[in-house]
C-alpha cells in the first residue's frame, strides 16, 4: 500500500454512540472570539481612547504588537484546550498542571512579590516588607504544593472576584456608549445630567447587574441566539460608521460636531474648544502616521490589552474522539477574532484621524478620562464622552437616525455583557464541586437558576458598584486592575502550557497538539513561553511603571491594596476550606490524587 492510499483510509471507525457529533462551525468559534475581543465595548471605550497620554507612541503599531503577543497566548490556549478538552478552562488546567515543584515555584514567586508590594503600599519598613515577602513566599509555595491551591487562587481572582469590579465597568461602558448618548440625541437633558452623576452611574450599575444576572438565568442557549443577532446588528452599525467616516471630510465633521454641540448641549464652537482643553491638559498631541517602534509605542501595549486580551474567552471544546483538526479550528477562531478586531481597530484609528482629526479625537477622549477619573477638576466641553459611534452619527443631521445608530451600537454591549456573570458562575460551580465552596454555591432552582453562585457574584458586584459610583476618585483609576488580574490568571495558564509536555507528558503525548513542533520543540511550550514573557512584561509594566502611566502600579497604593485584598481573600478562602473540610473528614487532596492503574 502506498502512502497516498493510506491517506485515504479512515483513521478510525466509529460506532453509533452517545455524544459523537460532527463538531461545530469555525464561524462560531470566530464569532465568540470576535465578540470577546470587543472592538466597540472594550476597544473604543478604553484602549483606543488613551493615545493622547502617549503622544509619541504609534497607535497602529501598538495594536499590531499586542495582537502578535496575543497570538502566542491564543496558540497556547488552543493547545491546552486540545490537550484537555473538557477540563473546563484555567481552573482545571492550572490545578492539574501546576502542582508539585512547578506549583510551589509559581506560588512562591507570586506570594513573595504580592506580599512585598502590599507591605510597601502600606508604608511598612523595608525590613518588615522583606519579612512579609518571605512569609508570602512560604504561603504561596504551600498553596502551590497543595493540589488545587494555586489553581484556585489564580482562577478565583481572575474568573470570579475581579468580575465584581467588571460589573460597574460594564455599566460605565453602557452608560457612556449608550444611555448618555441616547439621552442626548433624544434631547433628554435631565437624563444626561442624571446619568452623568453618581446616582445615575450607580443606577446603571444595578441595571447591568440585573440584566447580566437575568441572562444567566435565561441560560446560554437562549443568550446564544441573542448574541448572534447582536453580532450582525453590531457589525452593521460599525459598517455604517466606517462608511460615514470614509466619505466625510474633517471639515464636514467639524461643522457637524459644532452643530450638535450647540443643539444638544448649548456649546458653541465645541470642536476647537475641545482641542484647546486637550492642549491645555497636554493630551492632544501625537501623529497617527507615526510608525516608530520605540519605547512610547511599547508603553501603549499594556493599554491595548484592555480589549485584545480575550480572544479565547469562554471557549471550551466539547465532545469526544477529536483530533488536531479541532486544534486548528479553535486556533483559527481565536486568531480570526483577534486579528479581525486588530485590523478593524487599525482601520478605525486611521479613519478617526482622517475624519475626526487626530488632535481632536485624542483631546475628546483624554479630557473626558481626566475628568471622569478625577485627574483634573475641569468639566469637559460637552458633558458626555465623544463615543465614536455618536460622533460618526453626527454626520447625519437627524436626531432620529443618530438615535438609531446609537441603539444599533448597543448590540456590541448586549451581545457581550451576558458572559460577565456566566464565567463567574462556572468558576464557582467548579470550586463548589471540588468542595472548596459550600454546597449551596452550586445549587440551582427548579428553573435552573444558579442562585447561590449568582449571589456570590452579585453581592460583591453591588458593593463595588457603590464604591465605583460614590468613591470614584479611588475606584475609577483601578479600571486597568480589572485587566491585570485576568492577565495574571492567563499568565498561570501560559506557564501551565509551557511546562505541560515536560511535566505532564502522559497528557501531552496523547493529545493532538503533540504533533506540532517548532525547531523540534513542542509548539505549545514555545507559544506558552512567549505568552508568559509577553504577559509577564505587561504585568511588570502595569505595576512598576515609574511614571504611573497606567495608574494602577506601585505609585497607586490603593490599587496595590485592592489587588492584595483580592489575592489574600482567595488564599484565605482556600486555606479555610481545606481546614474546614478536614474537620468534616473530607480530604481535598483526594480530589486530584491519581489512582494507580497497576
Amino acid at each position: 500500500m502506498t502512502t497516498g492510499e493510506m491517506a485515504k483510509a479512515p483513521a478510525l471507525f466509529l460506532r453509533n454512540a452517545t455524544g459523537l457529533v460532527k463538531g461545530w462551525s469555525a464561524f462560531d468559534a470566530f464569532a465568540y472570539s470576535f465578540m470577546s475581543v470587543n472592538l466597540v465595548a472594550l476597544g473604543m471605550f478604553y484602549s483606543l481612547a488613551i493615545f493622547g497620554y502617549v503622544p509619541d507612541g504609534s497607535a497602529v503599531l501598538s495594536i499590531l504588537i499586542t495582537a502578535i503577543g496575543m497570538t502566542f497566548m491564543s496558540i497556547a490556549y488552543a493547545g491546552l484546550i486540545a490537550a484537555m478538552p473538557r477540563a473546563g478552562g484555567d481552573y482545571v488546567w492550572q490545578t492539574r498542571v501546576l502542582d508539585g515543584i512547578p506549583g510551589a515555584v509559581v506560588g512562591g514567586a507570586f506570594g513573595a512579590i504580592a506580599t512585598f508590594l502590599v507591605a510597601t503600599a502600606f508604608g511598612l519598613d523595608t525590613t518588615v516588607a522583606y519579612v512579609a515577602m518571605a512569609g508570602g513566599a512560604i504561603v504561596g509555595a504551600g498553596l502551590g504544593l497543595w493540589r488545587g491551591g494555586i489553581g484556585f487562587v489564580l482562577s478565583a481572582t481572575g474568573w470570579w472576584f475581579i468580575l465584581a469590579l467588571w460589573a460597574p465597568i460594564y455599566a460605565f461602558i453602557f452608560n457612556i456608549e449608550f444611555v448618555q448618548p441616547l439621552a442626548a440625541v433624544l434631547g433628554w437633558k435631565d437624563g444626561v445630567t442624571f446619568f452623568s452623576g453618581t446616582d445615575g452611574g450607580f443606577s446603571v450599575s444595578i441595571f447591568t447587574i440585573v440584566v447580566t444576572s437575568g441572562l444567566v438565568a435565561l441560560g446560554m442557549a437562549g443568550y446564544a441566539r441573542i448574541q448572534k443577532w447582536c453580532l450582525y446588528i453590531g457589525l452593521a452599525a460599525l459598517a455604517v460608521m466606517f462608511i460615514l467616516m470614509a466619505v466625510s471630510s474633517v471639515d464636514s465633521f467639524i461643522a457637524a460636531y459644532n452643530r450638535e454641540g450647540q443643539a444638544l448641549f448649548g456649546v458653541s464652537n465645541a470642536y476647537q474648544a475641545t482641542i484647546d482643553q486637550g492642549t491645555a491638559q497636554q493630551v492632544a498631541g501625537g501623529d497617527v502616521n507615526n510608525f516608530s517602534v520605540g519605547v512610547p509605542t511599547f508603553a501603549l501595549v499594556p493599554f491595548m490589552l484592555f480589549f485584545l486580551l480575550y480572544p479565547q474567552w469562554g471557549s471550551t471544546l466539547y465532545g469526544e474522539v477529536r483530533g488536531a483538526g479541532d486544534f486548528r479550528k479553535v486556533l483559527t477562531g481565536f486568531l480570526g477574532g483577534l486579528w479581525a478586531t486588530a485590523g478593524l481597530a487599525v482601520v478605525f484609528v486611521l479613519l478617526a484621524a482622517k475624519t475626526f482629526g487626530w488632535t481632536f479625537f485624542n483631546a475628546s477622549n483624554a479630557t473626558y478620562v481626566n475628568h471622569a477619573y478625577g485627574y483634573v477638576p475641569d468639566a469637559t466641553v460637552v458633558p458626555i464622552w465623544g463615543f465614536p459611534g455618536l460622533l460618526a452619527s453626527y454626520l447625519i443631521d437627524s436626531h432620529i437616525v443618530q438615535a438609531i445608530i446609537v441603539i444599533a451600537f448597543g448590540a456590541w454591549w448586549l451581545g457581550w455583557t451576558g458572559t460577565l456573570f456566566l464565567s463567574s458562575t462556572r468558576m464557582i460551580f467548579a470550586a463548589a464541586f471540588d468542595r472548596v465552596l459550600p454546597e449551596w454555591a452550586a445549587r440551582v432552582s427548579d428553573r435552573g437558576v444558579p442562585w447561590g453562585a449568582l449571589a456570590l457574584i452579585m453581592i460583591p458586584s453591588v458593593v463595588l458598584s457603590w464604591l465605583y459610583a460614590y468613591q470614584a476618585a479611588t475606584f475609577y483609576p483601578l479600571t486597568l486592575d480589572a485587566t491585570l488580574v485576568i492577565a495574571v490568571t492567563f499568565l498561570g495558564s501560559s506557564i501551565a502550557a509551557t511546562i505541560l509536555p515536560y511535566w505532564k507528558p502522559a497528557i501531552y503525548n496523547g493529545s493532538p497538539v503533540a504533533r506540532f513542533k517548532i525547531l523540534g520543540l513542542p509548539l505549545i511550550s514555545v507559544a506558552g513561553l512567549l505568552s508568559t514573557l509577553f504577559l509577564g512584561w505587561s504585568i511588570w509594566a502595569w505595576i512598576f511603571d515609574a511614571n504611573n502611566l497606567y495608574g494602577i502600579g506601585t505609585k497607586n497604593a490603593d490599587s496595590i491594596k485592592f489587588l492584595g485584598a483580592l489575592y489574600a481573600i482567595a488564599a484565605v478562602v482556600y486555606i479555610v476550606a481545606r481546614l474546614w473540610r478536614r474537620s468534616q473528614g473530607v480530604d481535598l487532596d483526594a480530589i486530584h490524587a491519581e489512582i494507580p492503574a497497576e
Binding site: 483513521a11 452517545t18 484537555m84 477540563a87 441566539r225 471550551t316 465532545g319 440551582v444 435552573g448 496523547g510
Partner: protein, 312 residues
C-alpha cells in the same frame, strides 16, 4: 459505608484498572460502575512485514517492530479506543463492507468486557470490596451475561442489590437520545421500569438509585445543544438540560438517600433533589483520568455523611 462510583469510561483500559484499584486506594467498601463501559471507536493500525502506520487524533505515526506496535496499542486502549491491526487488503475490504466493521466492533467489545471481568476477579480477590457493574445505553446487551458470570462482580441492571442494609436499584436505560442507542425508553416506559424495580424495596429512603441518565433540569444533565445536522449549536456554548423527567420524578417521589448518574460527561456535579443527594461524577476518560464520586453513607440513619468528586 464508603461508595466509590465511576461511570462512562467507554473502553478506557487505564480507567478500568484505576477503578479496580480505587477500593484499596480510597478505602471504599463498594465499587459501582455506572455503565457505558464499552468503547466508541476502533483505530486501525495498518501495515505488514513489521512496518505499521496509525493515525491517532490526526497524528500519523510509523511503527517499526512489535514493541512499538504494542506500545501504541496500549496508548490507544488507554484512551478508550480499540486498536485493530489490519493488512492493506483487510482495510480495503472494511471500507467496502461496513458489516465487517460492525462484526469486529462487537467482537472487540465482548472481548474487552471478558478481559475486564477476569482482571476484576483477579484484583478483587481477597480484598472484601464489593463491585457492581451496570451496563448503560451505549453498551450492547451481550455484555450483561459476561458481567453476571464474573465471580467478584455483580450485575447491577435490574437486580436489586443489598448493600449493608441499603438497596441498590440500577438501570442503564436512558430517555431517548439523538443517537438511538441500545438501551433507550420513552419517558413513561422508563418510569414504569423504575417503578417495577423500586416496588420491592420496603423502605424507599433506604435505597440508592443507580440510574444512568441524570434527572432532568438538575444541572447534572447540561449538555451542549446540537442541531439536526448533529453539529454543536453556538459553538458548544449553548448548554441545555437533556436528562430524564421520569428519573427526576422518581427521585422526588421515592426520596432515596442517594442517586448515582452519568451519561452526560459534561454534567459533573452534585445536587440535592428533595432529600436525595444526586451526583454525576462526569467523565474525561479520553485523558486517562477516572472521574468519580466518593460517598460516605451512614447506613443506620440512611444519610449521606460526606461526598467528594475526584479526578483520579
Amino acid at each position: 459505608m464508603r461508595v466509590f462510583f465511576a461511570t462512562d469510561i467507554h473502553g478506557s483500559e487505564v480507567c478500568w484498572r484505576k477503578f479496580l484499584n480505587a477500593g484499596a486506594f480510597h478505602k471504599a467498601d463498594v465499587l459501582i460502575m455506572g455503565g457505558d463501559m464499552t468503547g466508541k471507536a476502533m483505530v486501525p493500525i495498518t501495515g505488514s512485514n513489521g512496518t505499521w502506520r496509525v493515525t491517532l487524533r490526526d497524528q500519523e505515526t510509523v511503527l517499526n517492530g512489535e514493541d512499538e506496535v504494542a506500545a501504541m496499542e496500549k496508548r490507544i486502549a488507554d484512551r478508550g479506543y480499540y486498536p485493530i491491526r489490519l493488512t492493506p487488503d483487510e482495510m480495503t475490504a472494511w471500507q467496502a463492507d461496513p458489516s465487517l466493521v460492525d462484526t469486529r466492533f462487537k467482537a472487540e467489545m465482548l472481548a474487552q468486557v471478558e478481559r475486564w471481568m477476569a482482571l476484576a476477579d483477579e484484583r478483587l480477590a481477597g480484598k472484601g470490596t464489593r463491585c457492581i457493574v451496570s451496563p448503560a445505553n451505549d453498551d450492547i446487551f451481550e455484555i450483561d451475561p459476561i458481567i453476571a458470570a464474573a465471580k467478584l462482580v455483580e450485575l447491577g441492571e435490574s437486580n436489586n442489590i443489598e448493600l449493608d442494609g441499603l438497596a441498590l436499584v440500577s438501570t442503564g436505560y436512558a430517555n431517548p437520545t439523538p443517537w438511538n442507542t441500545f438501551r433507550e425508553l420513552p419517558e413513561p416506559e422508563l418510569r414504569q421500569r423504575i417503578d417495577g424495580l423500586v416496588k420491592d424495596v420496603p423502605d424507599k429512603r433506604r435505597a440508592i438509585f443507580n440510574f444512568h441518565a441524570p434527572p432532568f433540569g438538575s444541572n447534572l444533565d447540561n449538555a451542549p445543544k446540537i442541531g439536526a445536522d448533529m453539529r454543536y449549536v453556538s459553538g458548544g456554548q449553548a448548554l441545555i438540560p437533556v436528562g430524564s423527567h421520569a428519573i427526576r420524578e422518581a427521585i422526588l417521589d421515592y426520596g432515596p438517600v442517594l442517586s448515582l448518574h452519568g451519561h452526560i460527561h459534561e454534567g459533573r456535579g452534585a445536587v440535592k433533589l428533595g432529600k436525595t443527594l444526586s451526583v454525576n461524577p462526569g467523565s474525561i476518560y479520553e485523558d486517562g483520568v477516572l472521574q468519580a464520586a466518593i460517598v460516605d453513607l451512614d447506613v443506620k440513619k440512611a444519610e449521606v455523611k460526606r461526598y467528594l468528586l475526584i479526578n483520579g
